[in-house]
């Protein structure tokens, strides 16, 4: 007998066991390599979600990855399965898919029949105490255990092992003795594992807490799934051997099993879908024909430039093997076009003229001078990523077409991993630690949306947190645990729009499982599916598409002469509206930063909107691009270039870096980066954003630029721009695609505001502001908001004599069924008659009353409310003959304001600030209308409902807070600089919504005004 010196862990849970693993993959693999173990298995519960990253990390660390899973059998027993090779992995994927899809969501089960069906090239270990055989032995059902061992042996042959564990649980000594006896009796070999759930024993409390989160218990509760001790860590070979001095061969067998296995994943394989053109025409020639037909429609006659560009693009597409993919996307958008579903391609696909000629995008890349190489190139060879926005109402219909066309076996939605962030960690762990739900909610809301491990820094940095009670000792342990779970996956979800479409059945490549609403998703996220060689198509839901579609459809019907295709490209009135900053509700142009920019920029053509969209992004803001761009656009600053090589790249953006592509071009032109090196730069900028990596790239950039004859100081300064940009920015093609939608929405808001705002309100939530602020804006434009009316309101907000009538769907709690019944049985003469026909549940009836929907049937809401309990019981018509004769005081006006807001989310009859206006005026407070007339530097006091406070990134790293004060006339945009924020942060972020008073001075820039805060108080 040869006794090997090492050991391999073959039963290992990672955080991808979703709340049953606390050891990060990097740590598990790092310790394995450091301890000299040659391999490591990953056996998460009923999934292989971590497999791709695990595989990559293991290879990087020089150890052998073994992919497996701990499957749950039909009776709830566990069994470890390990894939011996690629075929074993495919069987594991099929097995897991059936376990998930053949059973209710969240309860995957594997049957013995399926084990028999997919047993090939799988190694099975009998599992922990929840394994069938250990369970039977613990119950002293020795005969049954014997028969089961033989049954598993019959299925897996010599690939079946009895698992010995010593994790210091009661009964472990006896159990291991029974297992050894069973091994002797059956000939099934023994193998040692440690049922690993974390890397180091110190991580046991986090694992225990995660178990509480998973089992919806608190630390003080008793639950059978709670771990008893801290022994389930990744022990060293010496520790494992010390635990099993009597079973050296069982220790040795871990190495033997590892030797039986080989890496199973082939990354960067090609599983691209196949498109079958009609009449058996080859895909490449069919694509060429379609592209030229489309080009003729787009351009009429084709000149040399168009032809050369199309040939270049087609040549790359064909050489890289993506003709089928383009045809597939063409087919999907063709389905949408035929059905009249509005869509628009976004992202870098708009760099392609082929995309434009196939009608995938509406951006003429040739006219805009966009380079196809930014989207696809032979050098990079990366997969094209085409994202299409669809009218949100019909996106699923489009996805349904893809499923029907390619078959369920070949199509799935892409999964995502919801991970612990600051707020979710506080809520989940706080509850498990015994904090009340209210307290967890209060603490969570005090934090901005941030990573959980940023909590300690936030507690120091943010004044509203510094001044809160969060530094008390009782919270210290909670925040410490929150930091430890930062980024760990909580549960699987569905990617917003991503579909994978595969040439081969997906179940051999990735397990599939159900997500919410019955959507079938891959167990891998978008990064992992791409590494596996699957191609992703993003079919996104965009509510703005629905709003535009409704607006255009209704205007086309009601306004003679309106045709969408006749919307002028550069309408003067529209740009005047944009230049006034009257863009609340306009796609991508409505944030305070965008409105302030528009007031200064003086946009006069769509190109200016493209620049605007790219400017107000973290990259250009942190890179200090905004001020130079505005000054240069207005001719107040000369356009200069740090180096002549920058001129052709930055000319169209007046010498400033606005677009991602420009960064890549600079790297290539100035430093002679290869496409691969430039792409690495792009990835570091947009993904990891690691300072260390950026600095490394910076040294490389400067050295290479010097080789190209650029002076060191100039190269360093150029790279400092890139560093400044090293955050999220738009690519030009994407900005151009979005700008087209922005312009169209601005045109409609300018010329048909009632229709446009009605449609926006019907499709909430979307955009920067909520329905209430959109109503304030509509009123500012002279449009009245009419309360819902039980006999007049429809499913959607509608225009009624130039005003907007609130929909019945807006009423809180309204269901589709009740709404359909209301609309079907109209008109109603009384609430009793209404209830007899509709039979609405009490809460909907109450909200209809509070919203004012019955006001014209009965003027006293309080009286109506008294009847709800009786009405709900379905009393006969005429039961309340004297209802109008009862004299009861109705609610006060203020009460009605608040009830309407509660029932509809909108102040319908006007803004509550109007009720205080006289008193505010007497106290010297300005409103949003009068503040506009004040000169630059004027001292001012203003009050309003504090909305949308946020802290965008800044170049200096100092905090600047923006928020708005909303009143009956509109918004006052407020800017708070660091010093004032440090004093009043608690007033801004500490108290939820509500009314605030701001004292400060007026700052006028362009045509716009801003209130620079000096003092902030809650009222």
């Amino acid at each position: 007998m040869v006794i090997r010196m090492s050991f391999v862990h073959l039963h290992v849970h990672s955080p991808f066991s979703f709340l049953d693993g606390a050891g990060r993959l990097e740590d598990l693999i790092g310790k394995t390599a450091a301890a000299g173990m040659p391999a490591l298995a990953l056996t998460d519960h009923d999934n292989v979600a971590g497999a791709v990253f695990f595989h990559e990390l293991c290879l990087k660390a020089g150890i052998q990855p073994i992919i497996g899973a701990e499957v749950t059998l039909e009776q709830g027993y566990h069994l470890i399965l390990l894939a011996q090779n690629a075929e074993g992995y495919a069987n594991l994927c099929r097995l897991l898919t059936r376990a998930h899809l053949d059973h209710p969501r969240g309860e995957p089960r594997t049957s013995m029949a399926r084990l028999r069906e997919y047993r090939q090239h799988l190694i099975a270990l009998s599992g922990c105490r929840k394994g069938e055989i250990p369970s039977l032995l613990l119950q002293k059902q020795f005969q049954k255990a014997f028969l089961k061992a033989k049954e598993y042996r019959a299925i897996f042959g010599s690939n079946f092992y009895l698992e010995l564990e010593q994790t210091w649980l009661p009964g472990a000594v006896s159990l291991n003795r029974y297992l050894a006896q069973l091994s002797e009796a059956t000939g099934v070999p023994l193998i040692v594992t440690n049922n690993v759930h974390y890397t180091e024993p110190e991580q046991f409390p986090v694992h225990d807490l995660l178990t509480c989160v998973r089992t919806l218990t608190r630390l003080t509760d008793v639950h059978p799934q709670r771990p008893l001790n801290q022994e389930n860590y990744l022990k060293t070979p010496a520790e494992m051997k010390a635990l099993f001095p009597d079973y050296p061969e069982a220790v040795n067998n871990t190495m033997a099993v590892a030797e039986k296995c080989s890496p199973v994943l082939e990354l960067n394989a090609r599983h691209y879908p196949e498109f079958k053109p009609p009449n058996g025409e080859p895909a490449q020639s069919f694509l060429r024909r379609l592209v030229y037909e489309g080009a003729s429609r787009r351009y009429g006659s084709l000149n040399k430039r168009v032809r050369e560009r199309l040939e270049d693009e087609l040549s790359v597409i064909n050489d890289l093997g993506y003709a089928d993919y383009f045809l597939l996307v063409w087919d999907v958008t063709g389905f949408a076009r035929n059905k009249g579903i509005r869509y628009a391609g976004r992202g870098s696909a708009a760099d392609s003229l082929v995309s434009y000629c196939l009608y995938l995008t509406e951006v003429d890349s040739l006219k805009r001078g966009l380079l196809f190489e930014r989207f696809m190139s032979r050098e990079r060879g990366e997969k094209p990523d085409i994202d299409i926005d669809f009218d949100a109402r019909y996106r699923d219909q489009v996805a349904g077409y893809v499923y029907r066309k390619y078959g369920d076996e070949h199509v799935a939605s892409v999964g995502t991993y919801n991970t612990f962030r600051a707020r979710s960690a506080v809520r989940d762990l706080g509850k498990a630690m015994g904090f009340s739900l209210e307290e967890c909610d209060r603490i969570a809301k005090l934090f901005p949306h941030a990573h959980a491990d940023a909590i300690p820094a936030l507690l120091e940095r943010l004044p509203e947190l510094r001044k809160s009670d969060l530094k008390e000792e009782k919270y210290r342990q909670l925040f410490d645990f929150c930091t430890q779970v930062a980024g760990l996956p909580r549960f699987m979800g569905t990617h917003l729009g991503g579909l994978v479409i595969s040439r081969h059945p997906l179940t051999a490549i990735t397990p599939l499982q159900q997500a919410a609403k019955g959507v079938v998703v891959t167990q891998f996220d978008k990064e992992a599916v791409e590494l596996l060689g699957l191609v992703k198509l993003d079919l996104l839901s965009l509510r703005m598409m629905s709003a535009l579609d409704d607006t255009i459809r209704i205007i086309s019907r009601e306004k003679a002469g309106f045709r969408e295709e006749r919307i002028p490209e550069e309408d003067r009135d529209t740009f005047q509206m944009v230049n006034r900053g009257d863009t609340i509700g306009v796609f991508q142009l409505e944030s305070p930063a965008q409105r302030a920019l528009q007031k200064r920029l003086g946009a006069s053509r769509q190109e200016d909107l493209v620049a605007s969209l790219a400017l107000i992004r973290p990259g250009p803001i942190k890179g200090n691009m905004v001020e130079p761009f505005i000054k240069r656009k207005q001719g107040l600053e000369e356009v200069t270039y740090l180096h002549p090589k920058l001129e052709p790249i930055l000319k169209k953006t007046r010498g400033v870096v606005l677009f991602q592509e420009q960064v890549i071009e600079i790297a290539m032109a100035v430093a002679g980066f290869t496409p691969g090196e430039a792409d690495r730069l792009r990835r570091v900028m947009s993904h990891s954003r690691s300072r260390q990596e950026m600095e490394e790239l910076g040294r490389f950039f400067v050295a290479k630029a010097q080789e190209q004859g650029v002076a060191k100081s100039v190269a360093e300064e150029i790279f400092s721009y890139i560093m400044g940009y090293a955050s999220y920015g738009f690519c030009e093609a994407h900005a151009a695609a979005f700008a087209a939608t922005s312009y169209k929405s601005a045109y409609l808001a300018c010329h048909y505001p009632a229709y446009y705002f009605a449609s926006l309100l019907s499709h909430q939530p979307m955009g920067y502001y909520d329905a209430d602020t959109l109503c304030v804006e509509a009123r500012r434009r002279g449009i009245k908001i009419l309360p819902p009316h039980i006999n007049k309101s429809g499913r959607d907000f509608v225009v009624e004599n130039g005003d907007i009538r609130v929909s019945l769907a807006q009423v809180k709690g309204m269901s589709k069924e009740i709404l359909a019944r209301i609309l079907k049985n109209r008109p109603y003469g009384s609430i009793a008659g209404f209830q007899q026909k509709v039979k609405a549940p009490g809460h909907i009836l109450e909200n209809l009353i509070f919203s004012g929907a019955f006001d014209e049937l009965h003027p006293n809401r309080k009286e109506l409310l008294w009847q709800v309990p009786l009405l709900e019981k379905g009393l006969p018509k005429g039961f309340f003959p004297d209802i109008r004769e009862k004299i009861t005081d109705d609610f006060t006006m203020m009460e009605k304001y608040m009830q309407e807001k509660e029932a509809l989310g909108i102040y319908v009859r006007g803004h509550p600030m109007a009720l205080f206006r006289q008193r505010l005026q007497r106290a010297g407070f300005y409103d949003s209308k009068s503040i506009d007339k004040l000169p630059d530097g004027a001292p001012v006091k203003a009050a309003g409902i504090l909305i949308r406070p946020h802290r965008p990134p800044t170049r200096s790293g100092k905090t600047i807070v923006f928020f708005s004060l909303e009143d009956e006339y509109g918004l006052i945009d407020v800017t708070v600089f660091e010093e004032v924020y440090q004093r009043y942060g608690q007033e801004i972020f500490g108290g939820g919504g509500g009314v605030a008073a701001v004292t400060g001075t007026i700052q006028t820039r362009g045509t716009g005004q801003n209130l620079i805060a000096e003092k902030i108080m809650r009222m």
Binding site: L169, P170, G171, A172, V173, P227, L228, N229, E231
Partner: protein, 81 residues
């Protein structure tokens, strides 16, 4: 049935394992260690891990002892009637 006591006890050890203990003035010789396990207890309240032993003594009695691993002190946890 067992009675939970959780009181300090003097234990005689050999190679780290209990071989006997004195309880209420009587010395009991451990005949066999029947089981052994670890329990992290209420770690969130600062409790340390306990190493439990279920032992049979030479006169047939059954006891559960544990060692507080941080303080290295022994306790009589349970006596089986």
């Amino acid at each position: 049935m067992g009675r939970v006591l959780d009181r300090p006890v003097n234990v005689r050890l050999e190679q780290g394992q209990p071989v006997g203990f004195s309880w209420q003035g009587v010395f009991y010789q451990v005949a066999k260690i029947l089981d052994c396990w670890k329990d992290a207890g209420c770690w969130w309240e600062g409790e340390s891990t306990k190493l439990f032993y279920r032992v049979a003594v030479s006169d047939g009695g059954l006891f559960e002892l544990y060692r507080d691993t941080r303080k290295d002190t022994w306790f009589m946890y349970k006596i089986y009637d």
